[in-house]
Symmetry: C2
Subunit: 524 residues, 2 copies
C-alpha cells in the first residue's frame, strides 16, 4: 500500500522517502490502515524553498486575500466536519460528541475566522505613527513558519488548522505544518481543505505545506535553517527544548508550550463555605478529556486539617466512581504511569488509583496523590513533574507561610487558581500567597478551574519558562497570538505612495492605530 502523499509547493506528491509509519486507534489498540512517510531532508528543503517563494508573493497580497483564505478554509472544515471528527476520534479516542464536533471543531473555525478578521483590519499590527517626525511602524509578516502541533487538540491546536497556524497565516506567513504523529490522518484531511481553500482564493503555492514526520536530526536541522523565520511548537518538554536549542543557535524566534502543573490553591474559608461544590468542580476539571489538557489542575494546595481531609476524601470518592477515560496513545499511558512513579519516588503518597487499565484501550485509573508542603519544598523538582492525564496531587501545608514556600518553589506555569471565601475572610492569606503565584503563572484565576481557555483577546495561554519559551506572549487569543510571528518594521521618511496601506494617512480599512500617543481608527 502506497504511503499517503505529502503536500509540497502546492502539490500533493508521493514522498521521496521510503520510511513510513502508521498511527493507532488508542481505544481499539489497533494499527490504523494508512501509511505515512517519514520525510527526509531533501523534502524539508524543498518545502523551505517553496515557503520562501510563497512568502515573496504573500507580502504583496492585499490583506483581504489572507482573510478570504482563512474564511474559506473555515467553511470547508465545517462542510467536511463529519469526516474530520470521525478520523480525529479514531486517532485520538476523543469522542465525536460533544468534544470534537460540538466543541473543538467550532472553536477551530472560530479561531480561523477571528484571525481572518484581524488580518483584514490589521488591528493586530500595533500600527504607530509619529506625525511630527514622519516615522511610522507596524508589525508585519516575518517569513516561513514551521508549526509543530500537539497530540491533545487535533483540530484547535493542529499544525494545519490550529491557533499557531491561524496566527502565522494572519500575519502573512506561509506555514510548513509538521503533523503530530498521533493523528496524521486528521492533519491530512485538514491540509486538503487548506490547500483547496488556498487555491480557490488565489494564494501562492507553498502557502500551506504538510510533512508527517521527520527524524529528530532533521527536525533540528529545520529549526536551524536560515530559510525558516519562526517556529510554533506545542508538545513534550524534551523534544521542544531540543528544537529551542537549535533555533536559539541561529536567532530564530521559537514559541513553545511545554508543560504545566497548574497549581490550584484552595483557602480554608472557601472549603468551609463550599467544599462539595469545589470538589465537583475540581473533579470535573481534572477528569474531563481524561485530564489531557495543557491547563489540567495537576497540583492542589491546601492547609491541613479536618475540612481538608473531608475534601480529599470526597474527591477521592469521585475519582474512584468516575469512569476511566481512554488516553491519546500508548506513549501517553506510559508517560502518565512513569510520571506518577516519579512523584511517588519523590515522596508523594498514593490516595487512589490502581495503575494502568480500568477503562477501554490505553488508559490509567483515575489517580490522586498527596504530599506535605515540607516534603514538596525539599524535593520540588521531582514533585512538580507533570503527570499528563487523569491524575492530580494534593499538597497539604501546615501554614500560610508553607503555602508561600511551596508556591515559591514552583517553576513557571500556564495558570494558577485561588479559591477563597466570598465574604473576604481569606483575603489575608490571599494577599500573602498571590504575589509569589502571580509572577509564576500566565493566567491567574479566582474561584474557577483552569481548564476552559476562552478564545478571547484578553486571554493569556502562556506563562513563564518552562511553561512556555517566552512569558511575553500568548498562544491563544486573537489578535494577541499573532505578533509572535511578526517583525517590527519602521518606515522613516518613506514617500507616501510606498507605505503599506495600514500606515497611510487615509487608513482605508479603519485599523486601530496609535497616532501621536492616542489610539484611533480614523484617518490622519
Amino acid at each position: 500500500m502506497a504511503a499517503q502523499k505529502v503536500l509540497i509547493a502546492g502539490v500533493w506528491k508521493h514522498s521521496d522517502s521510503t520510511k513510513t509509519f502508521q498511527s493507532e486507534d488508542p481505544k481499539a489498540q489497533t494499527v490504523l490502515p494508512d501509511h505515512y512517510p517519514v520525510s527526509d531532508w531533501d523534502e524539508c528543503s524543498a518545502a523551505l524553498d517553496a515557503a520562501v517563494s510563497a512568502f515573496e508573493v504573500m507580502r504583496t497580497l492585499p490583506r483581504e486575500s489572507i482573510a478570504k483564505f482563512l474564511e474559506t478554509f473555515a467553511n470547508r472544515i465545517e462542510a467536511r466536519s463529519a469526516e474530520i471528527c470521525e478520523m480525529a476520534s479514531s486517532e485520538t479516542a476523543l469522542p465525536v460528541e460533544p468534544r470534537l464536533a460540538s466543541g473543538e471543531l467550532p472553536r477551530t473555525c472560530g479561531q480561523l475566522r477571528a484571525a481572518a478578521a484581524a488580518a483584514r483590519s490589521g488591528d493586530w499590527a500595533n500600527a504607530t505613527i509619529d506625525t511630527a517626525n514622519n516615522i511610522r511602524s507596524c508589525l508585519a509578516g516575518i517569513g516561513p513558519v514551521a508549526v509543530f502541533g500537539p497530540n491533545n487538540f487535533p483540530l484547535a491546536f493542529g499544525s494545519i488548522s490550529g491557533g499557531d497556524f491561524a496566527a502565522a497565516i494572519a500575519a502573512g506567513n506561509p506555514v510548513i505544518g509538521k503533523a503530530n504523529s498521533m493523528h496524521p490522518g486528521t492533519t491530512r484531511i485538514l491540509a486538503e481543505e487548506a490547500q483547496a481553500a488556498a487555491e480557490s482564493t488565489g494564494m501562492p503555492a507553498g502557502t500551506v505545506q504538510l510533512i508527517y514526520r521527520l527524524d529528530h536530526a532533521d527536525g533540528e536541522k529545520l529549526a536551524r535553517d536560515p530559510r525558516l523565520a519562526a517556529i510554533g511548537y506545542t508538545g513534550s518538554r524534551q523534544a521542544g527544548l531540543k528544537l529551542k536549542t537549535a533555533a536559539d543557535s541561529v536567532g530564530t524566534p521559537i514559541y513553545l508550550e511545554l508543560s504545566s502543573v497548574n497549581p490550584v490553591v484552595i483557602l480554608p474559608g472557601a472549603l468551609a463555605e463550599r467544599s462539595a461544590e469545589i470538589a465537583d468542580e475540581f473533579s470535573s476539571s481534572c477528569l474531563m478529556g481524561t485530564g489531557q489538557f495543557c491547563t489540567n489542575p495537576g497540583i492542589v494546595i491546601l492547609k491541613s486539617g479536618d475540612a481538608t481531609d473531608q475534601f480529599v476524601a470526597a474527591v477521592s470518592e469521585k475519582f474512584k466512581n468516575a469512569s476511566v477515560g481512554t488516553l491519546l496513545s500508548k506513549s501517553g499511558q506510559d508517560g502518565l504511569a512513569s510520571a506518577l512513579k516519579t512523584l511517588q519516588g519523590g515522596g508523594a503518597e498514593l490516595i487512589c488509583g490502581d495503575g494502568v487499565g480500568g477503562g477501554a484501550g490505553y488508559c490509567h485509573s483515575n489517580t490522586l496523590l498527596k504530599v506535605s508542603g515540607a516534603e514538596f519544598t525539599k524535593n520540588s523538582e521531582a514533585l512538580q513533574t507533570e503527570a499528563f492525564g487523569n491524575a492530580s496531587m494534593f499538597i497539604l501545608c501546615d501554614s500560610t507561610e508553607e503555602i508561600v514556600n511551596v508556591v515559591k518553589s514552583l517553576e513557571g506555569n500556564l495558570t494558577g487558581c485561588v479559591y477563597s471565601h466570598t465574604d473576604g475572610s481569606d483575603d489575608g492569606d490571599y494577599d500573602q500567597i498571590v504575589p509569589a503565584l502571580r509572577q509564576r503563572v500566565g493566567r491567574l484565576l479566582n474561584d474557577k478551574m483552569p481548564t476552559g481557555v476562552a478564545v478571547s483577546p484578553a486571554m493569556n495561554h502562556g506563562g513563564p519558562y518552562p511553561a512556555t519559551g517566552h512569558a511575553g506572549f500568548t498562544a491563544v487569543g486573537i489578535p494577541g497570538a499573532i505578533p509572535r510571528f511578526a517583525m517590527l518594521q519602521c518606515f522613516d521618511n518613506i514617500r507616501p505612495h510606498r507605505l503599506p496601506e495600514i500606515l497611510t494617512d487615509k487608513n482605508p480599512l479603519g485599523a486601530w492605530r496609535s497616532i501621536d500617543g492616542k489610539w484611533t481608527n480614523a484617518a490622519i
Copy 2:
C-alpha cells in the same frame, strides 16, 4: 589607592574582590587615576538577592513612585551635567560640546522622563479587557534585569541611565547595571545620582545596583541565574552571543543589539539629481562621532558608471580632507584596523585611508573601500564584517538584479536606506530592490541617512538577527522599548478589588486600553 565602591543593596561598599582595572583617556592615551573592582561571583549573587527583594517591594508600589524616581533621576543628572560630561569626555574622547552636553545628556534625560510618563499612564502595558468573559490582561514587570551598556553612548545607552535602564525601571523592575569597562567613572557618577534619586523617592534598596566588571565566566553564570528575569545587552557580537547562549539555556529573555552595516542604496536617478548633496550627507553621517554609531552607514550600494565614479571620487575627497576623529579606545582602533583587513582580504579594494593614525590619540584615517557586486555575493560573509568607525565600503553593481542579489546576501541589519529621484524615475528599481531589503532591516528610510535615531514611539531601533536578538522589539522609543522587560499577566474572573489599577473598571489614571476590541482611555 582603594578601588571605587560598588553599589549593592542600596549601599556603596568596597568590593570584596581584589582584582581591579583602570580606564583610559583615549585622546591622551593615558591611564585614568581611578581603580575599579572586578567583582566576583559572591558580589553578583548578593546583587541578585537584593534585586529579588527590591522587586517584591516594587511590585506593590503605585506607578507614581516609579515615575517620580525616574524624573528625580533626570533632574539630578541635569544638576550634575558638567561633571558627568567631563568625566564621559575623558573616558571616551567624545566632545563635551556639542555631543555630550547638548546632545546625549538631554536625550538621556528626555528618555528617562518619557519612561516616567509611560510608567505613570500605563500606556505601555497593552491593557486588554473582555467584559463579556471578565478576562483582563496587561503587561507587567518581570523581575530583576541586568543591563550591559555599550561603549559608544556612555549616557543615552549607559547601563544606569540609558534606554534599557529606563525601559526596565518603567516596567517596574530593579536593574543590575554592568558598567562598560571603557567608562566606569561616568557610570559611577550616574549610579550615585540614581541611588540618591531612589532614596529620596522611597524606592527600595536594590532598585539600582552597579558592578563595574565581571570575568566572562561570571557574566555567563549571571545570565543563567534563576534569580535574573531578563537581560538587555548592547555591544560586541562575540560577547553578546555568549551571554545569549547562557540566557537561552535557561529560558531567560535577552535583548541584544549586536552589529549592523546599515546598507544605503543610491539609485541612478538620485545621483543624477543631487550627487553633491548626497555626497555631503553621506560623508557627514559616516564621519560624525568618528563613525561610532550603531547605525553608521557601512555599506553603500550603487550601479557602476561615470556618475557613480564621480560620486565616489567626491566622497573620497571629503574623507581625505576631513579631520580624523579620536576613537573610543585602543580596542576600537585595533578592531577597526582588523575589520578593514578582513574586508580587503575578502576582496575589497582600498580607495583612501592610510591605516592607524592621522589624528589625536587612538585613531584611524578616514577610510573608503570598494568591491564589485559579483565579488560581494561570492564572499558575502567576510565582506559584511562590521568596520566600526570612520570607514565605509562601496558595492558597485552592474544591474538592478545584482543589487537585489547583494541585498539578498545581507544578514539582518538595523537600518536600510534608499535614495531615489524625486520625479519617480527610480521607482522601477525601488520596487525590485525594496521587498528584499525590507525584510532584512528594522528601519527602512527614504532619502535620508540612518544616523540620528529619534526617540519616537514609532521608532524601531532593532532588526532581524544578528543585528539584534529578536526582530519584534525596539531598543529605542518609549513606550515601544518597555515591553521587552515585561511578562503578560492575565486576570480571569478576578474579584474587582484584587485587580491591578490599570485593569479596574474605573481606570483612574486614564490609561489607553483595548476594551472589547476598541481602544479607549475612558472607564468602563
